[in-house]
């Protein structure tokens, strides 16, 4: 098998194994809460698959680690051992270790670390024996010999799986001279033989100085379907000394080649989504065939038919587009599923009682958004447990149930996805926040500040420092980072809080990053797309409404506040643009928590823009989030409002 081919399968293995680990974790958590015995089987199956895959794809450390966990599970499954909290705890930590191993495998680092060795020892200790020596050296023994004895005993089902020992032994024969001895002792009687089962075994002597891993590679695909032992020929061991360093170098080389392979991500698509797409393409072809009839000769009497055809074409194209976009849409459950564990661990650590309520797990989100929304959500959930929910005695004193509720909810609203993280804790501590904000020079006094404005304070960059987490009983841990992450995804995050009743963080995200709704604005010869989500309003200014400030900045008054004017033609160097403020238009936009006015020549219209990455096709340009192709075939850049605001800030500072 070529390296590239194997890498492709390896990636599928990693993806499936990570899913398996998620299953193990959620089943363990369910078991911890008194779930039924079937869960043990589910956990066992997941562990078994990971073990098999790890062995096949050249992660012996992972295979042997999982083997320990699997053995423990096997005892539980067989009723030899009752499942209890320490076992669940240990298995949960094993899941963490395996996740760590996958991360390290991706990064090309050694798979084992102190933690995994420790957990492995604990697993073995729980089974009542000492931890076996590390898989690599122990199983491998010496890696150099001028001859090998290979004991190969296929499992009965190996032939049915399409793996023929004949082919494997032929491969060995290609390495050097073989002496093959077949073991016929396990053959059944002829009338009891299922011809698709293998009952033969072999002891093969390979008289060639090859590496052990080359021999093992022959059996890569069947490692799970046979018992295999590769030992140096008794008289043929060359250097049994220092096997470990040899292994490390070898492993490092193997990892090096893995690392070099390009990483691409994939997405699994439900078959009904594909079916619906095929169906739509069929409709499209029919419509196209119908329209084709007009090509030959056009009879004006048929105009309504043509119009109808074009309408159909537009509808099918739109549906197909939605359907294709839908491929990237995955349920948010994959993000939500990591929280039961987090909540359990954190609440135990803090001595709080927390009930996690999940809603709308099936709400679908773009894969990219999904991958990036996890971290901000973890932040919010941590904060809610750490700072929002009170200790049981405090809750009791406040007349609330001892167990606090943390609710995660996801749903569609308009063209957006809304994700809410809410708790029934103490809510924001207004006094503490205002006090801290005054101390940090963010505001002068808290008088007249609405609750909303106070809530906004915690998103200010200057507000969150490590000290805040201990000094302040309210929230405020890196909330500016949360907001920035969400706004990078084209979304917004807001907070509603009621003292004594809890807080609700609302994250609003676009359905997809691949298409945005925007206004097309003209600047000289160029067209720019301004995302609709950031636009507040557009206004035309009179010449005298523009104030110039020291340093060359321009301000205009908008609803009681002064906003800076960003002239797009200056920022992007467009020729032939309007310069007089009264000739053009100001689009008031909000990004990165600040409002600015973008000065453009005029608005052309509203449109859905299919986003093409500028970074992939050219390079990253500050203030531009991508490009799109207009109806006339020309390219329009999509304004990145947050980036423009930052760009403006830099210019001001310069």
């Amino acid at each position: 098998m070529s390296n590239a081919g194997l890498a492709q399968f390896q990636q599928v293995f990693v993806e499936e194994s990570l899913e398996g680990l998620d299953t193990m974790e959620s089943s363990l958590l369910a078991l911890d809460e008194g779930g039924d015995g079937e869960l043990v089987h589910t956990i066992f199956r997941a562990a078994h698959s990971i073990k098999g895959g790890a062995a096949t794809f050249g992660f012996p450390e992972m295979a042997s680690f999982t083997h320990e966990a699997e053995s423990l599970l096997d005892e539980v499954r067989g009723g030899k051992r009752a499942i209890d909290k320490p076992i669940v705890e240990l298995l949960l930590r094993s899941v963490d270790c395996l996740r760590g191993m996958f991360d390290r495998a991706k990064a090309g680092e050694p798979l084992n670390d102190a933690v995994s060795d420790g957990v492995r020892g604990e697993l073995a200790a729980m089974m009542g024996r000492a931890a076996p020596a590390e898989a690599g050296p122990a199983r491998r023994g010496s890696d150099q010999a001028d001859g090998w004895i290979i004991r190969f005993q296929p499992h009965a089902g190996m032939l049915a799986g399409g793996n023929d020992p004949l082919r494997l032994i032929r491969e060995l024969a290609a390495m050097g001279e073989l002496a093959v001895e077949a073991d016929l002792s396990r053959l059944p009687s002829l009338d009891k033989l299922d011809p698709s089962e293998c009952h033969l075994g072999w002891t093969i002597e390979l008289k060639a100085a090859v590496k052990r891993e080359d021999i093992a590679a022959v059996f890569d695909w069947v490692e799970d379907e046979c018992d295999l032992a590769i030992e140096p020929r008794p008289s043929a061991v060359v250097t049994p000394a220092a096997p470990a360093p040899a292994n490390i170098t070898e492993a490092a080389t193997a990892r090096g080649s893995r690392e070099a392979s390009p990483e691409s991500s994939s997405v699994r698509v439900a078959i009904d989504k594909i079916d619906s797409m095929i169906n739509l393409v069929g409709e499209l072809v029919i419509t196209q065939a119908m329209l084709d009839t007009f090509r030959e000769e056009f009879d004006p009497a048929k105009l309504p038919l043509l119009q109808q055809g074009l309408t159909q074409l537009a509808r099918h194209a739109r549906e197909l587009q939605e359907s294709v976009m839908g491929i990237r849409m995955l349920p948010i459950a994959s993000v939500f599923n990591r929280f039961p564990r987090l909540v359990r661990d954190l609440s135990q650590k803090l001595g709080k009682q927390v009930k996690l309520d999940l809603h709308g797990e099936q709400t679908e989100l773009d894969k990219t958004v999904l991958e990036k929304i996890g971290d901000p959500m973890v932040h919010l959930v941590r904060n809610a447990i750490d700072h929002g929910l009170e200790m049981p005695d405090k809750r009791r004193a406040a007349g609330k149930h001892e167990t606090g509720t943390l609710k995660l909810d996801a749903y569609h609203r308009g063209g957006n996805i809304v994700v809410e993280v809410s708790d029934d804790g103490a809510g924001l501590n207004r006094e503490a926040i205002v006090g801290k904000a005054i101390e940090r020079g963010l505001i002068r006094s808290g008088e007249g500040l609405s609750d909303e404005a106070v809530g906004e304070l915690i998103f200010q960059p200057g507000f969150s420092t490590a000290a805040v987490t201990t000094d302040l009983s309210g929230r405020g841990v890196g909330m500016d980072v949360v907001r920035r992450n969400v706004s990078d995804l084209g979304g917004t995050v807001t907070i509603r809080s009621k003292p004594g009743q809890g807080s609700v963080f609302t994250i609003t995200l676009p359905l997809t990053l691949a298409i945005i709704d925007g206004l097309t604005a003209a600047v000289g010869e160029e067209r720019y797309i301004v995302p609709l989500i950031s636009i507040i309003e557009s206004v035309q200014l009179k010449p005298d409404s523009l104030k110039t400030v020291a340093g060359g900045g321009e301000l205009f008054r908008f609803r009681g506040e002064y906003l800076p004017v960003l002239r797009l033609h200056e920022l992007f160097g467009c020729v032939g643009a309007k310069r007089a403020i009264e000739d053009g238009l100001i689009i008031v936009v909000e990004g990165d928590g600040a409002r600015v006015g973008l000065f453009v020549d005029g608005l052309v219209g509203q449109q859905q823009a299919v986003v093409k990455s500028l970074e992939a096709n050219y390079r990253r340009v500050q203030g531009v989030s991508g490009a799109t192709i207009l109806a006339d075939g020309s390219v329009a850049l999509i304004a990145d409002i947050g980036g423009l605001v930052r760009l403006h800030g830099q210019r001001k500072a310069a």
Binding site: L159, D164, L166, A182, L184, L190, C198
Partner: protein, 103 residues
Amino acid sequence: MGSKRGRNEKAVEIGLPADCRMAAQTALLAELLGALDAPATQIDGSAVERVDTAALQLLTLFRREALSRGCAVSWRDASGTLCEAADTLGLVKALDLPAAVPA
């Protein structure tokens, strides 16, 4: 190779197919089971172009069982492919096939 015992029944001759792999085994097994009652069986392996472990396992088992019943099993002919495969799997002796001739 064992000789015919000269019982009343005639010796059975079984021809192996060109593609003598797993898919052909069920039919072959039935044929071989039938042949167990015959005093002698002659197998013709001259046509075999493709063969796998399943086939050789079946033939090995048949020969062992037939011999234990006192029936003779002999080869009328065997293709190079068949001999090579038996040699690779270390079954030449068990099948009483001529050693493989390198192709």
